[in-house]
Assembly symmetry: C2
Homo-oligomer: 156 residues x 2
């Protein structure tokens, strides 16, 4: 709860800015596939099943925002092509992506359970997206409140 | 990285199902305002600045999916109206919402810094969305991999 929320502008909201970049279903599905390890246009296309021009536009946009980067490769006997790899900025979207995924696992998955599970590479145990206070560790959403930050803009 | 990703169907993906419900910019902005403490139609409208019919449709959809619930109220001298409150299912979207917000704070905020900060109600310290292994605590996205879950569907 932000006190006097209506006194502040939403114009510089970081959530809105993030959604302007990745808040489109096909874009997040491209990211999903990148997190699942895909890198090549044809693989993305096959996994997502969207039109090629839609995929081209989404990849282009993700490269423009430095979430994916193009890296050239060449298969034997084929022309040079580019593959798409997650940058650090892109990898940092994993927390949000896994949080959305796990909400879905909890509330809208089939009775069979989650189709994909995120695990810790080192030990194979499940990884969870959660909220944590630097002092008290995990906190539930009911114990989080919002305060105005340094970039808050009062509406005149 | 999911081994042989292309052997599996994406049809039952929990991320896609989540995005079908909340993966639309106005919908997530309504949720943002609900997390910031707003409950009333006119307040949502003022904060988000979207057309009233768009807001009506988004609220309707969130109620339908039991993310918001309608609770009647009556101001002195006015007719009874409904306000919109987050359910448990809705509150559980906080992790994903805060993760998206914090990615934006990191990569696309103005130099002034984040306009809104999520803090632990009990102590006032910042709350962060992060990934954690039940055994090893916080893990970076580089140490997460994906494995097929019980609901994974092999493509015939």
């Amino acid at each position: 709860m932000l006190e006097n929320r209506l006194d502040y502008s939403a114009e510089n909201c970081s959530l809105m800015r993030t959604l302007k970049i990745v808040g489109e279903r096909w874009t997040l599905l491209v990211l999903r596939e990148a997190f699942l390890g895909l890198r090549r246009f044809d693989d993305f296309q096959r996994a997502i099943g969207c039109a090629r021009n839609v995929l081209t536009a989404r990849l282009e946009r993700l490269v423009e925002h430095e979430i994916l980067e193009r890296v050239p490769y060449r298969e034997p006997g084929m022309r040079r092509r580019d593959e798409y790899r997650l940058t650090k900025k892109g990898m940092d979207l994993a927390t949000a992506t896994i949080a959305l995924l796990q909400w879905g696992d909890r509330y809208v998955a089939d009775t069979a359970g989650p189709p994909v599970i995120a695990v810790h590479g080192a030990c194979g145990r499940p990884v969870r997206a959660l909220l944590a206070c630097q002092q008290h560790g995990e906190v539930t959403p009911y114990h989080v409140r919002s305060i105005a930050g340094p970039g808050a803009k009062k509406i005149a």
